[in-house]
């Protein structure tokens, strides 16, 4: 899988479920993306060229990953619940890496947990999709991928981060706000980071629409299906 001649986008999909890998791969291919699937966070990092016992200090400016980024990845889409490294852990590792932090990350989860969603978005995830993911969800991906493609041009493609995040459930308070890595501000690729950060803040402000007021672990409080098969 070498560099594409045309400007095709390459997505790395991470999921421990074989069925879901097959699904996401098909969805992505149907949307004309190049796809690589892996079944764990550590394999994802390996593919991205960042080994876990990497010698290079992640906070060193402009470290080039060990020889492995011949394959450009324009977006990482990962399941949240995975054994070992969760999607959230993977997200963190990517955002902490100077070489990888500009790669947009999308989280998927079968569970609608508002605190989980906001935690991921605060950590830098671009989108949070509820499973099962649909073709229409993938339409939200292009703008994020285009952003990284244009990163060299230092311009603000940031006008339209699709803010259809109204679909995602948000809590009224953020129970655990994690501080962004302070070291990120000292690096040179500030334009993109600043944009991403200000976008994040903009998103934070927009995320107040909470009519639903779902409690966390909504799954548990939902009525049993068998109880609702409607009156027949």
């Amino acid at each position: 899988m070498g560099m594409a001649a045309e400007s095709q986008f390459h997505v790395l999909a991470v999921d421990d479920s074989l069925i879901d890998r097959k699904l996401i791969e098909r969805l992505l291919r149907t949307s004309s993306y190049q796809v690589t699937t892996v079944d764990s966070g550590s394999k994802a990092l390996e593919f991205l060229g960042l080994r876990e016992n990497d010698e290079s200090n992640p906070s060193t400016p402009s470290v080039s990953p060990n020889n492995h980024q011949e394959v450009e990845v324009n977006l990482v889409i990962t399941d949240y619940c995975m054994p070992g490294m969760t999607g959230y852990d993977l997200l963190k590792k990517i955002k902490e890496s100077s070489s990888l932090r500009n790669i947009p990350v999308v989280i998927m989860s079968s569970e609608n947990v508002p605190s989980r969603i906001s935690r991921c978005l605060e950590e830098g995830a671009e989108e949070f999709f509820l499973k099962p993911v649909r073709l229409s969800d993938l339409n939200k991906l292009k703008p994020h991928m285009k952003k990284t493609k244009l990163k060299d041009q230092k311009q603000g493609t940031a006008e339209k981060l699709e803010n259809s995040e109204v679909q995602q459930q948000q809590p009224q308070q953020a129970p655990k706000s994690q501080d962004p890595q302070p070291e990120s501000e000292s690096h040179s690729q500030t334009t993109i980071e600043q944009q991403q950060q200000s976008l994040q803040q903009a998103n934070n402000n927009k995320r107040k629409t909470m009519e639903q007021g779902l409690s966390p672990e909504t799954d548990r409080t939902r009525p049993r299906y068998s109880g609702i098969a409607t009156v027949v």
Binding site: L135, Q212, R220, R224, Y225, S226, T230, V231
Partner: protein, 233 residues
């Protein structure tokens, strides 16, 4: 040619009935949409993976519940996986039972878990046999030289009709109950047809994704509609 057309008709009706009865939800329709000439066996492949996965998990669950000291965390992990894969192929009833099953695990309720295991095995075997029937019918059509993609298209239109009558369905659709009401007032026809259609609609969407508030509204409203339509006819 007549024979093929009839087979295709039967397949459309059969598939629609599976949606109506809540065995399958819109996710199955999504899967069918992803199938094309370059991936002609996509649905069968994914569903086969589901069967294998489910059977493995059901065995694990049976074993885990047979232990002298039950590991509820482990149990929950397996149920979570089963819930995920059933949701991915649109096996709605299986998914529904998994949700209750997870509640029983959380409560560490052995009786509940045993009951849920029975239920999930039952629902799984039902949906398995229905899907196998569906695939067999597809094979018949293909063997007779007919096309299945036209069937898929028609099934898709059935799903669209549901969606159109309710408007775009989304998790945030607080208007869902009102739309149901509007639909019922504009639709004509026999009460039982309305009932079937209404049940079909409500079962068709992923009920498990509704909030408790939304869900109870829909149920109440459905009851009202049915009562109303009973009076009218």
């Amino acid at each position: 040619m007549d024979g093929i057309v009839q087979l295709q008709r039967q397949l459309v009706d059969y598939t629609a009935s599976l949606f109506h009865e809540g065995f399958l939800d819109d996710q199955f329709n999504q899967l069918q949409q992803l199938q094309d000439e370059s991936n002609p066996d996509f649905v069968v492949e994914v569903v086969t993976l589901f069967f294998e996965d489910a059977e493995r998990l059901l065995n694990e669950l049976t074993k885990a519940l047979g232990q002298p000291s039950i590991d509820f965390k482990r149990l929950d992990t397996h149920v979570h996986q089963l819930k995920g894969s059933s949701s991915s192929i649109g096996a709605q009833r299986v998914q529904g039972v998994c949700i209750s099953f997870r509640n029983s695990c959380e409560e560490q309720n052995v009786e509940g878990c045993l009951k849920n295991l029975q239920q999930v095995k039952h629902e799984y075997s039902l949906v398995k046999s229905k899907l196998e029937t569906l695939f067999r019918m597809e094979q018949q059509i293909l063997a007779a030289g007919g096309s299945v993609s036209s069937v898929t298209t028609e099934v898709h239109h059935v799903c669209q009709r549901y969606t159109r009558s309710l408007g775009p369905y989304s998790l945030q659709n607080a208007n869902l109950p009102n739309k149901l009401l509007r639909f019922s007032s504009t639709s004509t026809g026999h009460a039982s047809a309305l009932r079937t259609h209404l049940v079909g609609m409500v079962n068709f969407f992923q009920i498990s994704k509704m909030s408790p508030g939304q869900h109870s509204k829909v149920v109440t409203l459905s009851k009202q509609i049915l009562m109303h339509s009973n009076c009218m006819s």
